[in-house]
Amino acid sequence: MRPENNIQTEDRHRISKILWYLYCLFLVLAMVIIGKIVYIQFIWEPDELVESHLRPEKVKSIIEPERGAIMDCNGKLLALSTPMYNINMDCKILKEEYEKEEDSVRRDTLERNWRKKAEALSRELPKVLQEEGKDASYYYNLIISKRDSKKKNDGSRNVPIAKGIDHQTLKKLQTLPLFKENKYHSGMIVTKVDTRQYPYEGLAARIIGDVKIDKDNPKDSRFVGIEGQYNHILHGTEGIQWMKQTDKGRILDPDSTGVAVQNGKDIRLTLDIDIQDIADRALRRRIMEDEKIESGCIVVMEVETGAVKAMVNLKRDRNNNFRETFNMAVGQPGEPGSVFKAASLMTLLEDGKVTLGTEVPTNHGKMPDMSKIPVDSYITKWERTHNTNKISVLDGFKISSNYVFRRLVTDNYRNDPKQFIDRLYSYKLNDAYAFDLEEKGGTKSKLPDPDSKHWSATDLASTAIGYSVMETPLNIVTFYNAIANDGKMMKPYIISSHEQDGKTCKEFKPEILNGAICSKATADTLTRALKMVTLEGTAAKLKNAKCEVAGKTGTARIVIPKEIRGNSSDPYKDELGRMQYQATFVGFFPADEPKYTAIVTVYTYPTSVPVYGSSTPAMTFKEIVDDLWALDTDWGKEYTARAGVPEMRAQYIGTRQGSVTPVPDVNGMGLKDALYAIENNGYRCSYEGVGHVVSQSPAAGTEHKKGQTVRLVLR
């Protein structure tokens, strides 16, 4: 037998040998690895395709900013962006790969399976898309005919499946057979199209506007309304980020730097979409009834601030539909007619030339020394009905007599017409106010200049009654707003603020154009005269409006362009003797404490039957007043509470264990809660009265045996 020590030595020797072999193995491996590293690092040149996969691709990605929304004064969304999707399908997807299969059985099976899925997809598509005339066979034939097509020049491999679908529909489509597989199997091609949505459809369409950018021909791009004019605010600025491709998808490269995207700002308007809706509906209804009317516009303004609350512009199209295609309120000045008499009267009153009681000789309605001016039939009627040869300024204003105002102005300013005209300039009737919105193709208001060579002898008289001047409805309503505002003329504005993520970035406050275009006394006198117009004058149809209106009617002829009037020598008549009219009603309400000023103007086609300011415009105005009055809580009756109602207190009434528990405090509770609290504590309950618990017996906190009765008094 070998000694024990020898055995141990042999074992150690064997173990150390094994370890040595292992060591050698690892050493060789380490050398191989080091050698490989050196080889890869300095000698090996990978295949380009392999390299592209080994080196993650970095792609510059442009982040499109979110376009800002447009809101009304109450934050109701008037325009917002949502993406829509176009779906196309690559019908020849995998076809070539299948055809390369050498095994014919496998090849046919693969193709058959794909077609089966396409058939199942075709069955589901009509249910999701619900497009008229497109059933399962339509979609199947569309897909398969394209797949089987062997023509090389038959366009692309794609067929359109759906256009302009929303996100929900897209999600549904992505659950359908075939489409639920990845795009390399299904052939589904989704194209995102950012679309501007207008929840109120055509309402205030011209104010909100739109942007259409023609990249091929930038000159043909279209920028209309707020969307167009404030595109730089709404659009925001693009961001840049670098993306890295990984096995599981594309990620933001954490080592890269980028440019943060700046989303567009929201624009809050002064417009109140409810008032806009009321005004739009009223005008639409009234002008729809009258085929003579070609178009109409309304502006509603807040008296105190000059904020535009509604601006409607409707024009009849070839299909007899009214659409917002041109902002007449801002860009279509015309001779305003009798509504301008308020400016003449303001001037006469301010210069102390007349009072409302001043009497004017009627002279059978004939202007002395101006034989060409036609006789005023209102005056001859006045002479007949009142058996008098005099008429007061107030009565002349009430019946809207041209004679009275021509005569008053010529008598008082014949020697110094500039004094009269300068006053009109001080009323800002020649201003565009740098209004927030411009109308492309529109023109501006214009007053005559007595120093100009074009000034004629009759200009003063015609200016007095609203001819020889060109005024936009916005100018007229701003002037009347100043009367309502005790002579303080506010700048009309429509943009209230720019906002980002609900925070105001820039606020636009009301601005004063002229602190006092007239004295308060003059404004009060004019208000009195305007009230008389609606009570007894030309606008008596407004007498029954739900709140008192002070306003003025105006009817003016429109100069007919030469290409339309043909050979007619009268600029106001066409060859058939027909005339075009601009009929207006402008006023404010409630007359004593005005909150809104509004103007309604309608424009006719050439017609032999006139449209007056006292008809369609006044009736439209009444409808607006009635609807607004009912909706505005400021004008509701106030009731003061006389009885005190006990205040409810929130308290927790638990359920207690044990035969004796304290009675819960149920004072102030309704019966239902009190019963619940008492019975849950093991007591019985009796009560009298209605209302809330005013007393309880035994009192709260008293230790009482369960099953006993707690009496409640309610009041």
């Binding site: 929840p199 990620i251 400021d634 106030e638």
Partner: protein, 117 residues
């Protein structure tokens, strides 16, 4: 010994000693690398942490991208729903719907009364 001359004998001895030491497995110990062992471990740990963190960053970024897509989807759905609801809020549309439904509810004919304390 001159600077330009190489002691080939000593160099050969050293190489042989190096190979022997390598074969014995005590090369590192002879080089007294055991003193640097903590630093080697530290460097290894740093390299490992760097690789591990890069992996985690990539995983997190994938999650971020995935969440971005989900948020985008939710935002689109929200915008779409808002659009649909706002459209229904129009006074004239509500009135038309009421008429269509045969409802007796109509637009108010007078302003709401105000109750004051």
């Amino acid at each position: 010994m001159g600077l330009g001359k190489i002691d080939w004998k000593a160099a050969g001895k050293s190489v042989i000693e190096f190979i022997r030491s390598l074969a014995r497995g005590d090369l590192l110990l002879r080089m007294r690398v055991d003193k640097l062992f903590p630093y080697i471990l530290y460097t290894f740990a740093l390299a490992w942490a760097s690789i591990w963190l890069s992996y985690k960053v990539e995983k997190t970024m994938l999650k971020v991208e995935d969440n971005k897509k989900k948020i985008e989807d939710l935002k689109i759905d929200h915008a779409k729903k808002t659009y649909e609801l706002v459209g229904l809020n129009r006074i004239s549309k509500v009135e038309a719907l009421l008429v269509e439904m045969g409802s007796d509810v109509k637009a108010p004919e007078k302003p709401a009364d105000i109750l004051k304390k």
